[in-house]
């Protein structure tokens, strides 16, 4: 198992290098720069700024200097926030995104898996159609629609949660991360429900389920012991893409609910052409994704003995 993890970690190095290089080149080759955008600064100011941040050096020098700093864990200074380094920006904003994402994932699984299992076990009955209709609605009501709708219902009508962001937190009994997490969680829960149903149905038609029935195993035990492990495989496979989706989703919900998370910083950096913050965020995301996917692979191997060998 350790060897497996080590091998996968080795495979990640080239992926990261490619991601960094592509992003770096894209940022540097793009027209416009952090100091050319809105404020019409004098050429001298721009030059001084560029020199300060090292943007006047030849590209290869900049590239290798960046890699060297990266190896030390330094992501460089931010041009949007002159007083902060990229590391500090991430350290300040990521915990917000992490909380939202974790809660969203928990909501998605807590709704999706039971709904999918129920639908599969009671196939072609009301208990199948009802949750599956909800799942279809969940998929067709994307986060940027669902988010504002939830904000209206819970924030403006019921006053259960606030929608103005963490900064202006009124005293509401729903924590400020709840509505964003619910928005994301319902969307991915819909996918999880559909995948769970499909996976369970697939396993329920297998010969070994018949074997279990012939042994006198009752239906509850058949579902829990004989079907669930295999039936959840598609969901486990989906966790990787879902994680990537949660990151994209965080861009949307952090905008809708005005949360100071990393997603919001990334979009802001993209608008402001804050190279080091963009690069830093992308590298950070890449590492995160890579580690998470490794985790998913480990879960996969733990659930399916055939993969382990």
């Amino acid at each position: 198992m350790l060897k497996f993890i080590f091998h996968r970690l080795l495979q990640l190095v080239p992926v990261l290098v490619v991601v960094i290089t592509v992003t770096f080149l894209m940022a540097k080759k793009a027209p416009g720069g952090p100091f050319s955008a809105e404020r019409k600064a004098s050429p001298q100011v721009i030059e001084r700024q560029n020199a300060y941040y090292g943007y006047d050096k030849p590209l290869p020098v900049q590239y290798f200097r960046y890699l060297a700093n990266l190896a030390k864990g330094q992501l460089g200074p931010s041009t949007t926030y002159p007083t902060e380094t990229v590391n500090q920006v991430i350290a300040r904003s990521f915990p917000v995104s992490l909380q939202v994402g974790t809660l969203a994932m928990a909501i998605a699984l807590a709704f999706g898996v039971p709904a999918g299992v129920l639908a599969a076990v009671r196939k072609n009955t009301l208990l199948d159609y009802l949750p599956m209709s909800f799942a279809m609605s969940g998929i067709c009501l994307p986060t940027f629609v669902m988010g504002p709708v939830l904000a209206i219902i819970f924030g403006l009508w019921l006053h259960w949660g606030n929608v103005a962001g963490i900064d202006q937190a009124e005293n509401t009994w729903l924590p400020p991360i709840f509505l964003p997490a619910l928005t994301l969680g319902l969307f991915y829960g819909a996918y999880v429900a559909r995948l769970t149903r499909g996976g369970m149905l697939e396993v329920l038609t297998q010969d070994f389920i018949r074997t279990a029935q012939a042994k006198g195993v009752n239906s509850l035990r058949i579902i829990l012991k004989h079907t669930l492990k295999g039936g959840l495989m598609p969901v486990v496979s989906f966790l990787g893409p879902a994680f990537a989706g949660l990151i994209s989703g965080s861009f949307v919900v952090e905008k809708v609910f005005n949360l100071p998370g990393l997603g919001k910083e990334f979009i802001k950096a993209a608008f402001n052409r804050d190279y080091s913050l963009i690069l830093g965020t992308v590298v950070f995301y890449a590492v995160l994704i890579v580690v998470f996917n490794l985790l998913v692979d480990v879960i996969h191997a733990l659930l399916d003995p055939r993969i382990r060998h």
Binding site: V19, M136, F144, V145, P241, S248, V252, F271, I278, Y285
Partner: protein, 366 residues
């Protein structure tokens, strides 16, 4: 003991020529199954209607998409609108439009008593003109079915034009993804071996990258254009298509008709494009139908974040973004674009599910 007792044999009767000649029966069969699926048919009809609505709808609405009316900001849907006509020497010198919600702010109503105000309003509502100072007020024929936005633009016509962009980008980006996915998958599946392993491993890795980030980077660093938008989206949505095509091709390539083609000395490209790809058409159609809503979703997310379609063009994502900003005061600006967008996604997803059941009954999940 068992070697000398083989299976009970029976002679298979060759299928009648009649059956063998029905070359198109697969498609006929699929169409028959699809027709039975009510949700899928409703989805298909709905999508066609929405597309027609966006394409020819603007010719039936008397407003242009960019047309702004300063005085008609944020009208409610179907709100009565009054014309304020300014005359000098019997000639109309100026006409302004006042929505009902703002008519009481007019001088003619502020400076008079409550009774006079009610009487005047009633008079207007009956369709009779009301003279007040140098202005004549009169109910206008002008109607905004779905209201107007913060700049006084008609929402209905904006939705039609936005739909053109959203659906257009959806279809164009899907076409790009089909092109890349089918070729990549076919090559990987047909050539097989180590190349196949490497190519599929690349797909696996790409799967885990949140492509929204890359599309965002592209949109930020390159001059924004609609062409770039659908190319970028198409370039990231081909992965599943490649996987599906690869799976089918590698199963098909050991079938007799392919071996026959090989033994005839036909080239690899010829075999891939003339013999294999036509056989995976069913799956490609099914998956394309399911890709369109995903692509539209990605476009809408980007536009919502302000990184997709740029003004003066609009798409449903842009409209939803606009609507979400003023959700407290003008919720209809969110409601209608969100509704038509979700309805389109519903239609396409139901159609896709139905097509999957119809074209590939085995893979259907019930």
């Amino acid at each position: 003991m068992t070697a000398d007792a083989p299976e009970i044999t029976s002679v298979a009767i060759p299928p009648s020529l009649d059956e063998a000649q029905k070359g198109t029966s697969l498609w006929k069969d699929a169409w028959r199954r699809l027709r039975r699926n009510k949700l899928a048919i409703i989805g298909l009809i709905n999508f066609v209607l929405i597309t027609l609505f966006c394409l020819i709808g603007p010719y039936f609405v008397p407003y242009q998409s960019g047309e702004q009316a300063r005085s008609l900001q944020s009208c409610r849907p179907m709100e009565p609108i009054y014309a304020r006509i300014q005359e000098r020497k019997g000639k109309i010198v100026r006409t302004d439009f006042i929505p009902e919600s703002k008519i009481l702010d007019e001088n003619a109503f502020i400076t008079v008593s409550k009774e006079q105000r009610d009487a005047g309003l009633a008079q207007l509502k009956r369709g009779e003109p009301l003279k007040a100072g140098r202005y004549t007020y009169q109910i206008s024929a002008r109607k905004h079915l779905l209201g107007t936005d913060a700049l006084g633009r008609d929402l209905l016509v904006r939705m039609m034009h936005g739909g053109r962009i959203s659906i257009g980008v959806g279809l164009a980006a899907t076409a790009v993804s089909i092109l890349i996915g089918v070729v990549y998958g076919a090559v990987s599946g047909y050539l097989g071996g180590n190349l196949d392993i490497v190519m599929m491993r690349i797909v696996d890795i790409l799967y885990t990258i949140p492509f929204t980030i890359f599309v965002i980077l592209l949109m930020v660093f390159l001059p924004p254009s609609i062409f770039l938008l659908f190319m970028a989206i198409g370039a990231v949505e081909w992965l599943t298509m490649a996987r599906i095509v690869r799976g089918e091709i590698s199963a098909l390539k050991h079938r007799e008709f392919v071996e026959a083609a090989v033994s005839l000395g036909l080239g690899r490209l010829h075999i891939i494009f003339r013999h294999l790809i036509p056989n995976v058409l069913g799956s490609v159609i099914v998956y394309s139908t399911l890709t369109v809503p995903q692509v539209m979703l990605l476009e809408a997310v980007l536009s919502f974040l302000g990184l997709g379609v740029q003004p003066p063009m609009s798409s449903w994502g842009v409209l939803i973004d606009d609507g979400a900003k003023t959700i407290e005061t003008t919720p209809w600006l969110l409601l209608f674009p969100a509704a038509i967008f979700s309805l389109t996604l519903f239609s396409l997803n139901f159609l896709g599910d139905g097509l999957r059941d119809a074209l590939d009954p085995k893979s259907s999940k019930d």
